[in-house]
């Protein structure tokens, strides 16, 4: 079977209308927005949610999630999950923070070093999966804990804050009234979308994830493809970390921990299959917006942080379960 046919089969879910699913996700987004608009309305301040600054805030919060989510979508398309994204984010941002704050290194160098470190950590994940042959969730779960150990070691349990203004532009600057995180996210998303859907590399991601043996026999060097996917994921996690600490102006050893569950939830809600070979970046984008809206609403309603993590846990179980049940019926 030719590669084109093979990937075409794996990409198009049998018996479903992809555009209908996509539309369904947009409808959910609109419904969630409407609910939040109504719930957060107060007599004093009116429709708080629909405030332009609040909406920009929602998209900016979603940006971090989307940047990581693009990487996660790619690894899930090519092979399997990357559970280490949160820890990669923490470690790279901690390294950048130390370089900027303690050693006063010029920020372009710090940014370059952090991105390089992220890519190297992705490479380690990829090598553990391909050459050592560890199951992806085990390899990346292992690196999750090791990397946390190193972040903790570097910061010695402290919090680090205060970065040069030049660096902070990527987090709190804005261009034509649009906050920089949103611009970074848009660039990442467009590049990711182009690579995944319009390049040979993208086809190889789909082919490898759909059926690794068939892909190997069609002449794809699957090990390289898988490693590339994990390198991209590590790189994007590092980028997300830089944007995040530039915005918050501080970093700590566990800064990325809270992103793992939401990212997985968002990617799966977006229609990317955990079984591999089906990646939907547009879905990831919309799902991340839904997640950000829910978070924002809970913040406005002053839901305690502990309950928010409970909601995210239930949300991920609910969406994956619904996804599995729908697939069985199809």
């Amino acid at each position: 079977m030719s590669l084109a046919k093979l990937t075409a089969q794996s990409v198009a879910p049998t018996g479903e209308k992809p555009w209908l699913q996509g539309a369904a996700r947009f409808i959910v987004l609109i419904v969630v927005c409407s609910i939040m608009t109504i719930l957060t309305r107060s007599d004093e301040y009116g429709f708080v949610f629909l405030n332009v600054s609040n909406l920009l805030n929602v998209v900016r919060n979603a940006s971090i999630l989307i940047i990581i989510g693009v990487g996660q979508t790619i690894t899930l398309t090519a092979r399997d999950v990357d559970l280490s994204v949160g820890s990669v984010l923490s470690l790279t941002s901690v390294v950048a923070a130390i370089m900027l704050n303690k050693y006063g290194i010029a920020f372009p160098v710090a940014i370059f070093a952090a991105l390089l470190l992220g890519a190297i950590l992705g490479l380690v994940n990829g090598l553990l999966i391909t050459y050592v042959g560890l199951p992806p969730f085990l390899a990346t779960y292992g690196t999750l804990w090791v990397l946390f150990g190193f972040s903790y070691l570097i910061l010695q349990g402290a919090v680090i804050y205060g970065f040069p203004a030049g660096f902070r532009v990527i987090g709190n600057g804005s261009l034509l009234g649009i906050p920089m995180p949103i611009i970074v996210m848009a660039v990442v998303f467009i590049c990711g979308y182009f690579v995944l859907n319009h390049t040979t590399l993208g086809r190889r991601f789909f082919a490898t994830g759909a059926n690794i043996e068939t892909a190997r026999m069609s002449g794809i060097r699957v090990d390289r493809v898988i490693i590339t996917a994990y390198v991209i994921s590590g790189f994007l996690a590092a980028l997300a970390g830089l944007v995040l600490i530039a915005y918050t102006n501080g970093s700590e050893a566990r800064i990325g921990d809270s992103y793992l569950l939401p990212v997985l939830a968002v990617v799966v809600m977006g229609g990317t299959s955990l079984a591999g070979g089906q990646g939907n970046l547009l879905g990831t984008l919309v799902a991340a917006l839904i997640m950000a809206v829910i978070h924002n609403g809970m913040n406005i309603l002053a839901v305690p942080a502990i309950w928010q993590s409970l909601v995210v846990g239930l949300l991920i179980i609910g969406t994956v379960l619904a996804d599995q049940l729908l697939r069985q019926r199809a």
């Binding site: 292992g142 150990g149 309950w307 993590s309 409970l310 846990g313 991920i316 179980i317």
Partner: protein, 333 residues
């Protein structure tokens, strides 16, 4: 074929090599390492991990995975302490309060396991994502119940189950025995019987080896896959309660990361995700690798800041070594 050195080398589990190597290094650095006192200490510190790792091994033998074990450990400890302390506040005798607390703790573990198992077996969710979701739920509930701190336990009867015996029994040699070790031995024996002498064990090993084959030969795969998570949840609860007894407190984040140690111990012990092979005897060796690494770093005086990074790296390297070696062994056979 004549027996030679290499066939002997093949029969020794790779975890044993790692243990030997680490003990040599630690003894070389600090001669106090290899004393009976310290070995008793290692056993006391790792009895809880062994109980948890047995649960992880059972799940992995059935070709599943439970990342929620650490948070189930935390949650069961917290519910146990919560019930026990509330009952004692209202004047219930220590023994009754302890019985109720332990019962509630075990029930919590079983319930969490039942939900994870239900999601995996009935809902057909990938195990790591179902259990990752439950991990979020479990840790959130622990934080809520313990109000983000720890619940201190003032029940001497309960604390007895976490202590060395010389604290309460005035007999010679008692300092070499501890209740957690005793509990771990009992649990290990029970799990051994369940795994190798009951339908439960035969069915989960069959499911791990070849699930559709097991289904076609008449095994109710949905039921047994569900059961294995329930059992793992109960084992996590036992370890959580024992840990609470040892620390005389139930902390709301005490179990963070324990599931990784438990899974790593299983892999180090030679249980493999792919083929349903391995067993709980190897897991004991795996727990020893982790326990000896932890304790050794302490004894040779490595700063606590370095320990998470170093133990993590040692564990990953040991896993890579184990997998490389088992691949090499298969090539030789």
């Amino acid at each position: 074929m004549k027996p030679n050195v290499s066939s002997f080398l093949i029969r020794v589990p790779s975890a044993a090599w790692v243990i030997l190597l680490m003990m040599t290094i630690f003894t070389a650095i600090n001669t106090r390492y290899l004393t009976l006192d310290n070995i008793v200490n290692i056993v006391l510190q790792n009895a809880v991990l062994l109980i948890l790792a047995l649960g992880a091994t059972l799940v992995i033998l059935s070709e599943g995975l439970d990342l929620s074990l650490g948070s189930v450990l935390t949650l069961s400890g917290v519910t146990c302490a919560y019930v026990m302390e509330s009952l004692m506040d209202s004047g219930t005798p220590h023994a009754v309060a302890m019985g109720a607390g332990v019962g509630v703790g075990l029930l919590t573990g079983a319930l969490m396991g039942a939900i994870t198992g239900g999601l995996v077996s009935l809902g057909k969710m990938p195990p790591f994502i179902a259990s990752l979701g439950m991990m979020g739920v479990g840790s959130a509930l622990s934080l809520v119940l313990a109000k983000s701190t720890a619940i201190y336990i003032r029940n001497p009867l309960f604390s007895f189950f976490g202590e060395r015996l010389d604290r309460s029994i005035d007999l010679p040699l008692m300092q070499y025995f501890s209740m957690p070790a005793f509990i771990a031995i009992v649990v290990f024996s029970v799990v051994w019987v369940m795994l190798y002498h009951t339908p439960f064990g035969r069915c989960i090993i069959a499911i791990g080896g070849n699930e559709s084959g097991a289904r076609l030969s008449g095994i109710n795969t949905v039921y047994w896959k569900w059961m294995v998570y329930v059992v793992a949840g109960v084992l996590a609860a036992i370890s959580g309660i024992t840990l609470a007894a040892r620390l005389e407190a139930a902390d709301s984040i005490v179990g963070v990361g324990w599931e990784f140690d438990a899974i790593a111990a299983t892999i180090l012990g030679g249980t493999s995700f792919a083929k349903g092979k391995g067993g709980i005897a190897g897991t004991v060796l795996g727990v020893m690798v982790i326990g000896i690494a932890r304790n050794g770093l302490n004894v040779i005086g490595v700063q606590s800041l370095w320990q998470p990074a170093l133990t993590g790296t040692i564990i990953i390297l040991a896993i890579v070594f184990e997998i490389m070696l088992s691949r090499w062994k298969e090539g030789r056979r």
